[in-house]
């Protein structure tokens, strides 16, 4: 009994202490540096934790206060947990085990390298008040810009309208003057000089056979030119920019975040196809990236991007609230942009891995494209042009050693183009 009382007593003392501590904590955490904390948080914690959202681990906003309030756990507990969570769980700590089981029985990675000061900084960052809607301001700005644009349009129209009215007035005035003059003339019986009937210009033109011939030839040539131009663009889809089922921005991924193309299009290294990443590749990152916090435009707002991430979750069957897969997945039907005809064999790995060609060489500045379009014409002439001018990357490749030596002797050159290696032969691409 005494023991129990003691415990109770100690507990109450502890809680008292905690309350006191709590009173201090704000002061203490104020001592921590939220800015440093933010960078530490992003470097160490962000893979599994967010401030306001349950992820692999729990949401961490105001974690310190919450733990103290709800669980009565002090900062030392947090230090211990961060340094060695598995140990805390093992020691039979009640809350520790509860959290451990709630999050699928996966122990949090231990961070012994974080000093208590570091943890303080992080806690300071987590204790920051949530910033309220900068989006609203951005939205307002967008509306404003919209307005200026539309005023510009109106003023132009007014000027044009005024000019048109002026022009009509002028024409009417001239007509009236002419009419009045004629009336004067007829009134005063002045005979208007009859214009001599000359052959009209068009008739003279028609009668001149040479001119007709020249015109006919010109006409035929120019129409042939246009017909040729028209036919040559049939099937050439340069600039093809279809709407995709999910608005995937290469600009954000490859440009802003600098993700390597081959992280997602990994089969470009080994296969003929570059491969559209499967949804599990997307989810590698998007499990933790559930919202967009980058730059926005009026057209593509934060809500818009977040909505697209939601689409991804739906397709991959990811329940973001519960942080688990539901199993109801729907494959995404992307619209293929670069279509080579069936009778052309193209191999990505030959170009990417062997030749070391940059993706952008053919696909254009992908990292700047919000919506991807076909950059190159993908015509045979375009392929050939490159094969004629590009030197083969023979460095450190034992396959090329012998053939390069022999061929460069034969052609008397140091470097060899793809064409000299036989890259223009029909059968290399058509079989």
């Amino acid at each position: 009994m005494r023991k129990v009382i003691h415990r109770k007593l100690s507990k109450s003392i502890l809680s008292l202490g905690l309350i006191i501590l709590l009173a201090f904590t704000t002061a203490l955490s104020a001592q921590g540096d939220p800015a440093k904390g933010k960078s530490l948080f992003n470097a160490n914690c962000a893979a599994c934790h967010q401030l306001d959202k349950k992820m692999t681990g729990p949401a961490l906003r105001n974690v310190e206060a919450r733990l103290a309030d709800e669980q009565g756990l002090d900062k030392d507990w947090i230090y211990n947990w961060v340094h060695n969570s598995a140990g805390v769980v093992k020691s039979g700590d009640a809350y520790g085990n509860k959290v451990y089981n709630e999050y699928g029985g996966a122990a949090m990675t231990a961070f012994p390298q974080l000093s208590n000061e570091d943890i303080d900084n992080i806690l300071a960052y987590t204790a920051e008040v949530k910033a309220e809607a900068p989006a609203a301001a951005a939205g307002g700005a967008a509306v404003a810009t919209d307005n200026t644009a539309s005023t510009g349009g109106v003023s132009n129209e007014i000027i044009l309208g005024a000019l048109a009215i002026l022009f009509i007035l002028l024409a009417a005035g001239l007509y009236l003057v002419n009419k009045t003059l004629r009336r004067f003339a007829s009134a005063q019986n002045i005979e208007l000089p009859e214009e001599t009937k000359r052959t009209p210009l068009w008739k003279a033109f028609v009668q001149n056979q040479f001119l007709m011939l020249v015109v006919a030839i010109f006409f035929l040539l120019s129409s042939a030119y246009f017909v040729y131009g028209y036919l040559m663009q049939v099937g050439v889809d340069q600039g093809y920019q279809p709407v995709q089922p999910i608005h995937f921005s290469h600009k954000i991924h490859a440009g802003d975040n600098g993700i390597d193309c081959k992280y997602c299009h990994s089969s470009a290294r080994t296969s003929k196809t570059s491969g559209i990443p499967s949804l599990n590749v997307c989810m590698n990152c998007h499990k933790s990236i559930y919202e967009y916090n980058g730059e926005t435009t009026p057209e593509h707002s934060k809500e818009f991007y977040d909505g697209e991430i939601k689409k991804l979750y739906k397709a991959a069957g990811w329940d973001d609230a519960e942080q688990k897969y539901t199993g109801n997945s729907q494959p995404v039907k992307w619209v293929r942009i670069h279509n080579l005809p069936d009778f052309v064999y193209f191999n990505h790995s030959q170009h990417v891995t062997v030749a070391g060609v940059e993706c952008q060489t053919c696909h254009g500045p992908i990292e700047e494209m919000e919506v991807v379009s076909q950059h190159a014409p993908l015509t045979m002439g375009w392929c050939i042009e490159c094969h004629r001018t590009t030197d083969v990357n023979v460095k450190d490749n034992a396959y090329y050693t012998k053939i390069h030596e022999e061929l460069s002797k034969k052609y008397g050159v140091d470097k060899l183009t793809a064409a000299q290696m036989g890259g223009l032969e029909c059968g290399k691409c058509h079989y």
Partner: protein, 1030 residues
């Protein structure tokens, strides 16, 4: 100077009063074109709802619409995986080792899959036995994508679910067990340790269970003989690479004799090395693939075969036998015996006579010789059927003694000679289930059809030969709601382990002996010494035939001759007929008759003449044949007749596997069912034949052509000449006259073209050894599968529009031998002689020599096709390949006309997605087999062998990516990779150390039609025949 010559247009001009000649002087046609008749028929024209103006409007509108529509590119969707399997990279092929065991074909193979789809079968080089895929195994991948497969379990024709199936069948089986009625499992030969164990467990559970193993084409006699002599049910194994003298009496061991797979060993000793090669003497009735390859072939009737074998026994082992043979056969038997004795342990005798005494005689001869090729210690396990047990079963079923019958891998209603008895018996059973991939003849008679998966979707294990195990693993998820027989047995046994786990357990406990299962699965094969528990088929033991004490004399006693004797055989393409719905195999031309889409009665010319049967060539060059009624003991079938050179007089032949009526497309329902004549499971039957009305239209890709003494197509010589004489005697380079001097055609001075420097980079060459090539045709199907070659159907083949990129030409000699032809041709002089003798030479001899020659595009360095193409669609690559750009081709067909080898193929029609060609390329399922690296050609373009440029390019790219040089043997074409006999060797001749570079310098090397001077990149090795008599 003007000429008074009169030019004759027609014999009609001889007739002075001919009105036709008179009319033709005035008019272009004898009769008026009936245009007026047509246009004059006002009523008909007006009755038509489409007026001329409307018609023109429609034409104009549709043309405009079509051209407008063509300008709009289609929207292509790309759908990636949600979760991409780790081992799959789109665009990169994966290979899995597995084993086919369909009851007829057993082979360890590699399966090439693309994006999870199996698309091609290749040889498993790790397998010590049965590692080469024959034509049927190569084609088996298409069976996976058969649109007529059963897609789920059925009861009485309506689909049910597996749970219903389980509930109902479990109930029935339990009821039968309680009632004590007999349950029968009628299955193919599984040769599977795990299945045997499962069946034993099933027997334990249900008590009164009988397991009957049934091979459609039985080897029961050989099994019985082996069992009587060696105490185990199996077939003696032969390794022909240890034999220098091979005597075969009616054994088609290069075909399907005793399970097949002997050709690679056989070919090894066919290549002359150090002046030696094997000698093969064949006694047979039908002209078989084996007989065609023999050094000496003796045609004789089946009853004479028995006597010949008995006599061979007496000459080799001793003792005397009665019976007489025609003197020339007697002589041949004596010589064969002498040769065998001389060879001693290097000799071997085999026989295909379905007689337990004959098989015993062979064992005794081989044991007497101490033959190294004869291996009774590792018996072949892939045939285990028992004729007597099957016949007993049918009798019991008819008597109503059987409660339930469960069948797997068999189609007895089609393959049994007494199928009607079987059907009657089936009606009397209380439960009948057929595990089948199709609603075939049997499955449509049973209560339940249990949809079975294809072997590429199944798990399994096989003991191919004693101690040689192989694993079957799925290479794709089941396409339909199917369940394999073994899974069902597990369910019935009340077990809930999967068959995969079951195999793993069986292997772990009794086969692997500690080795890794995953390694065995990776290799596909495992060689172990540990004996496995074999299922006790007590039934089989009691009903096995036992040879009589003096087998040889018993053999002669059984040789009774009456009238014509029919030998039933299996064709290389169709086998036992399981794959009859496979268009690749239907269109595969038989190596001997070169006829596709048919079976036929082969008969000798003499017998055909006597019976009034004939073959004739019609105007378009195709072959027509009479029909004949073939009767055996009251069963009569009508089959077309094919006059076969080399067919023994007094004998006829007919192939199994055709005449199926259910579970296959209408186009594939070809030929007649020979199983109806397979009485008592004896392949030899006494028949009466009479001519029937009508003419049959064959689809032959080559007629019964002779070589006509044109030794520049197939160069052939005898071992003696080869060993003793200089190369110029038997493999001379043709010469042309330059400044009145004989100059070899290969020298640059007589060349029309300037030679390019081809010494840099790769230069591909393909060498084909005519000695090693058996003509089996595995390469033909491999090429078909690799290159998306379309199937064109019987009528188109008949019009010579077959699309095979690779054909195997078969030539007969007109005299006894090709050498005789050459002599005869050389001695022809004068007009009279040449008219008559050339005419004679067109006809094949009664027993001709046969030669096979695979011909594909020869990839000429100085290609005549390239120079005539008006649009430069075909051009030459630096690596020696003759390229064909299909998208550039406009279809003038000049190239085909200018090709001396006739290897170019024209797409007369669109063969894919066209209802007129309702084969695999006409449905989405069948198109899954297409190789995504090779374009599917459209109508109006020429196509041909590309020397598998997609494969050579892939090899080069892999090497570039790894940054290494290419080793010899890495370059392969589909045909060279499929060739199990080593006849085809492909490689880079600029790699001086490569095998092909050495073969190019071989003294046997020649080019086809070398005198045309086109410098082909395909070379042949002169055929050498061992004609040395003992």
């Amino acid at each position: 100077m003007s000429s008074n010559k009169k030019y004759w247009k027609s014999v009609e001009e001889l007739n002075e009063n001919s009105s036709i000649v008179e009319t033709l002087k005035q008019n272009e046609f004898v009769e008026q074109i009936p245009a007026d008749e047509f246009l004059g028929d006002k009523d008909a024209l007006e009755a038509s709802s489409t007026t001329r103006r409307d018609f023109l409007k429609y034409v104009g509108f549709s043309t405009a619409a079509a051209s407008l529509a063509a300008c709009e590119g289609p929207v292509v969707k790309s759908i990636p995986y949600v979760v991409q399997p780790q081992e799959i990279i789109p665009g990169v092929a994966n290979y899995y080792a597995t084993t086919i065991a369909d009851g007829f074909d057993f082979a360890s193979v590699l399966v090439k899959t693309r994006e999870g789809r199996p698309i091609k079968i290749e040889n498993n080089t790790l397998a010590a036995v049965n590692g080469t895929a024959n034509a049927r195994v190569n084609a088996s991948v298409l069976g996976l994508y058969d649109s007529l497969r059963v897609q789920g379990p059925k009861k009485g024709g309506t689909s049910i679910s597996w749970s219903t199936f389980d509930k109902e069948t479990n109930q029935k089986l339990t009821d039968l067990k309680v009632a004590g009625k007999e349950i029968v499992l009628l299955t193919q030969t599984f040769a599977s340790p795990s299945t045997s164990k499962l069946i034993s467990e099933f027997k334990e559970k249900y008590g009164n269970v009988r397991h009957v193993v049934y091979d459609a084409v039985s080897e029961s006699a050989a099994l019985d003989a082996y069992q009587a002599k060696y105490g185990e049910r199996g077939l003696a194994n032969y390794d022909f690479s240890n034999a220098m003298t091979i005597v075969s009496v009616g054994a088609d061991f290069l075909g399907d004799w005793q399970g097949g797979g002997f050709d690679s060993g056989y070919s090894k000793n066919k290549i002359p090395q150090n002046g030696e090669m094997s000698r093969h003497i064949q006694f047979e009735s039908n002209m078989s693939l084996t007989g065609a390859n023999a050094d000496k072939r003796v045609p004789l009737t089946p009853s004479e075969q028995k006597i010949a074998l008995a006599k061979l026994y007496s000459y080799v082992v001793g003792g005397s036998v009665s019976g007489s043979l025609p003197s020339h056969i007697e002589e041949a038997v004596k010589k064969a015996a002498a040769q065998l004795k001389k060879a001693g342990s290097e000799g071997v005798v085999v026989t295909g006579i379905q007689d337990v005494n004959a098989q015993t005689v062979v064992f005794e001869i081989n044991e007497f010789l101490g033959s190294k090729a004869f291996d009774p210690k590792t018996p072949i396990k892939t045939r285990q059927g028992n004729d007597k047990a099957v016949l007993n079963l049918v009798a019991d079923m008819k008597a109503g003694k059987i409660g339930a019958i469960i069948m797997s891998g068999v189609n007895p209603v089609y393959t049994l000679p007494n199928a009607s008895d079987f059907v009657a018996g089936l009606k009397k059973t209380e439960l009948s289930i057929a595990f089948s991939m199709k609603v075939d003849e049997t499955a449509s008679e049973t209560q339940y059809v249990a949809a079975a998966p294809h072997y590429l979707e199944s798990w399994g294990d096989v003991e191919l030969k004693k101690g040689h195990y192989a694993l079957t693993q799925p290479t794709i998820r089941p396409l339909f709601k199917t369940r394999q027989f073994q899974e069902a047995l597990l369910k019935w046994n009340g077990s809930d382990v999967s068959y995969h786990d079951y195999i793993k357990e069986t292997w772990g406990t009794s086969i692997l002996g500690g080795s890794s299962f995953n390694q065995a699965l990776h290799d596909g094969v495992y060689v172990g010494a540990i004996a496995t528990e074999t299922e006790n088929t007590s039934d089989a033991e009691t009903s096995a035939d036992v040879p009589s004490g003096n087998a040889a004399s018993a053999l002669t006693a059984s040789a009774k001759k009456s009238g014509l004797e029919l030998t039933l055989y299996t064709k290389v393409g169709m086998g036992d007929g399981q794959q009859a719905n496979n268009p690749w195999l239907q269109e595969f031309p038989d190596p001997i008759t070169r006829t596709s889409w048919d079976n036929y009665l082969t008969i000798s010319k003499a017998d055909a003449d006597a019976l009034g049967l004939m073959n004739k060539h019609v105007a378009n060059g195709a072959l027509n044949g009479s029909y004949a009624k073939v009767s055996v003991n009251g069963t009569t079938i009508t089959a077309p007749v094919m006059i076969q050179p080399g067919q023994a007089k007094g004998s006829v032949g007919l192939a199994f596997g055709y005449g199926k009526t259910k579970g296959l497309k209408e186009e594939m329902q070809t030929g007649v069912n020979a199983y109806a004549l397979y009485k008592d499971f004896n392949t030899v039957q006494n028949v009466t034949i009479e001519a029937a009305a009508g003419e049959h239209e064959f689809a032959s890709v080559q007629l019964h052509n002779t070589l006509m003494g044109r030794g520049d197509i197939i160069k052939e010589t005898s071992l003696e000449i080869f060993n003793t004489k200089d190369k110029k005697h038997w493999n001379a380079v043709p010469v042309v006259s330059l400044n009145h001097k004989e100059t070899p055609v290969t020298s640059p001075e007589v060349d029309l073209w300037d030679e390019f420097d081809r010494s840099i980079g790769h230069h591909f060459n393909l060498s084909i050894d005519l000695n090693a090539c058996t003509g089996c045709g595995a390469c033909v199907i491999a090429c078909h599968a690799e290159n998306n070659v379309p199937v064109v159907g019987k009528t188109e083949v008949r019009r010579s529009r077959d699309m095979h990129w690779l054909r195997i030409d078969r030539y007969y000699s007109s005299e006894e031998s090709f050498e005789g032809d050459n002599e005869k041709k050389d001695n022809i002089s004068g007009l009279g002689s040449s008219l008559s003798e050339f005419g004679e030479m067109e006809n094949a001899s009664v027993n001709p020599q046969v030669a096979f020659q695979p011909v594909m595009c020869q990839h000429c360095n100085h290609a005549p096709c390239e120079t005539v193409c008006p649009v430069a669609a075909t051009s030459h690559g630096r690596q020696g390949q003759n390229h064909m750009a299909y998208n550039r081709c406009v279809g003038t067909r000049y190239c085909a006309n200018n090709c001396p080898y006739k290897v170019r193929r024209f797409n007369w029609f669109l063969y894919n997605g066209n209802d007129e060609f309702d084969y695999h390329m006409n449905d989405d399922l069948g198109r899954m087999v297409l190789n995504p690296d090779v374009v599917v050609r459209s109508r109006g373009v020429m196509e041909k062998c590309s020397m598998c440029i997609q494969k050579t390019q892939k090899t080069i790219l892999d090497a570039k990516r790894d940054g290494r040089e290419i080793k010899d043997g890495e370059f392969q074409t589909a045909c060279s990779a499929a060739c199990g006999s080593g006849a085809m060797v492909f490689g880079d001749i600029n790699d001086k150390e490569s095998q092909v570079a050495k073969l190019k310098e071989d003294k046997r090397m020649y080019h086809l039609l070398e005198h045309v001077g086109v410098k082909p990149n395909v070379m042949y090795q002169t055929k050498v025949r061992n004609t040395t008599e003992a």
